[in-house]
């Protein structure tokens, strides 16, 4: 998964989260940038994401700690493999303590989200014109909708103030 880098053609499939099963049944949460030697891919499967969420909220944990926090019961080996995979993908640091590894996240959730967004945009913007234009027009539209709502709100206030002044004038 992560090591192959993200293929632009698969983007929409990943983005809509409707298919693309990977490894231990994880559903891919998209990520767009090919992985460099140092920088980990920001792509995380659903189980990987659940594990990361636990580590982000609880901090340094062992495999058993993570299993205890998981919403559904999973085998020790499944969680251990997932943690090992996250370590190899540079998402986690680990050290041995009393014959068990203790894992801690290497980046915060915010950093991960930012990297996801960056690489999503970078992946999309380097694609051929129509896709790029589509993304840009979607973004412009989203900003435009926000602006329109804001301007509508301001205009409503102006109308209310005008009405108030009119009533005062009549009174």
């Amino acid at each position: 998964m992560g090591g192959d880098g993200f293929k632009a053609d698969n983007y929409l499939r990943y983005f809509s989260r409707d298919g693309s099963k990977i490894q231990s049944g994880d559903e891919m949460i998209p990520f767009g940038k090919s992985r460099s030697a140092k920088e980990p891919s920001a792509a995380l499967g659903t189980l990987e994401l659940s594990v990361m969420e636990i580590l982000w909220s609880h901090g340094e944990s062992t495999v058993r700690d993570v299993i205890a926090c998981l919403a559904r019961p999973l085998a020790y080996t499944t969680v251990m493999t997932t943690l090992d995979r996250l370590f190899k993908k540079d998402f986690l640091d680990r050290y041995k303590s009393e014959r068990a590894f203790r894992y801690s996240p290497r980046c915060s959730r915010d950093d991960w989200e930012r990297r996801r967004a960056d690489s999503l945009l970078a992946g999309f913007l380097c694609r051929p014109e129509p896709s790029r234009d589509l993304l840009i027009s979607c973004l412009v539209e989203a900003v435009g909708q926000y602006d329109e709502a804001l301007l509508d709100d301001l205009e409503k206030k102006i109308r209310a103030k005008r009405k108030e002044l009119l009533q005062k004038g009549k009174g």
Binding site: D147, L150, L151, L154, K157, K161, L165
Partner: protein, 325 residues
């Protein structure tokens, strides 16, 4: 490095300028957040004056230090007219000082050139409605949301046909009064002064926040002058702002022009303020202009009194001798 008499003076001037300017600039940068808060709690015009004074203080005092202390003490007391060795630190600071000054001069010249080019373009392509009036209004044949006060010596209001059609008479009158307020307070010249005032270091942007706060306050001040406390006018001005924002993002006529709506982010705050919805924390006027003038006069008097003392110049010269090594 060994330098002759005149180059040594130049080197000392730039190095002293850099040192004094950097120290005062850092001090100004540190107090900027508090100053911006204080300025916002004052009347906008006074708050803007306070921020402008803070922005121009480092460059003014650095220039005073060079012209009032460095040059006289050197010319009067430096007897060695032969070449003399100048330390590396002094040379480095002189180079940095020269670079900082040059960058601000280039930036200002570029802004002036762009402004002049745009003004010329508007004059050629637009139609001036009232050429003999003290504030000419030029209408451009465009639908872009352009409404700005452009030009330095003889500023004019630049208005696009789209804006002219979009605004009602009351809104247009309020918007023009806003631009007139900018002209009356010479805001375009103040913008040029900000361009001329160097930043602390080359390529640093330490004064961005101060500049932004000042720009916000001069818009508020122009709004206040345009409405003059008239509630109906305030509503018309708020409506004009929203109308222009609907036409698209604020267009900048030139770097030295005062645009009616330059920054969309400021729109809600300006509109709410005009409608009286924003909490008003403005303190009563405290004759800021008088206070600032008195402070400036006192400082100038003090500087002149201290400068003409031979003992001061002697002390400065000894300091410069240490500095140059």
């Amino acid at each position: 490095m060994t330098l002759p008499y005149t180059l040594r003076l130049l080197c000392l001037c730039f190095a002293s300028f850099f040192l004094v300017h950097a120290l005062l600039g850092l001090a100004a940068w540190i107090v900027t957040p508090s100053a911006a808060r204080v300025a916002e709690s004052m009347r906008p015009r006074n708050g803007a004056r306070l921020l402008l004074a803070l922005r121009l203080l480092p460059v003014t005092l650095a220039a005073v230090a060079v012209a009032g202390f460095c040059i006289p003490s050197y010319l009067w007391l430096e007897t060695n007219e032969a070449t003399e060795r100048v330390g590396l630190a002094c040379c480095a600071m002189a180079l940095l000082g020269a670079a900082v000054c040059a960058s601000s001069v280039i930036r200002s010249a570029r802004a002036l050139w762009l402004s002049a080019r745009r003004s010329g373009q508007y004059r050629r392509e637009g139609r001036t409605l009232n050429p003999s009036h003290s504030l000419p209004v030029t209408v451009m044949n465009s639908d872009a949301p352009v409404l700005a006060l452009s030009g330095m010596m003889r500023p004019r209001v630049i208005l696009s046909r789209g804006v002219l059609q979009a605004l009602s008479n009351d809104e247009l009158e309020a918007a023009l009064a806003h631009e007139l307020a900018h002209r009356n307070s010479a805001d375009n010249w103040k913008r040029l002064a900000l361009f001329l005032a160097p930043d602390i270091f080359l390529f640093s942007r330490a004064f961005t926040r101060l500049n932004r706060s000042w720009a916000k306050l001069i818009e508020w001040a122009a709004d206040d002058d345009a409405t003059a406390g008239d509630a109906r006018r305030s509503v018309s001005l708020a409506a004009a702002l929203v109308q222009i924002a609907r036409m698209g993002s604020g267009s900048t006529a030139s770097p030295l022009a005062s645009s009616f709506l330059k920054n969309d982010d400021e729109l809600p705050a300006r509109v709410n303020r005009l409608l009286g919805l924003a909490p008003s924390s403005e303190k009563p006027a405290r004759q800021m202009r008088t206070v600032l003038s008195v402070v400036a006069a006192l400082m100038a008097t003090l500087a002149i009194t201290v400068t003409i003392q031979p003992a001061t110049l002697l002390w400065v010269h000894r300091l410069l001798e240490q500095f140059i090594r």
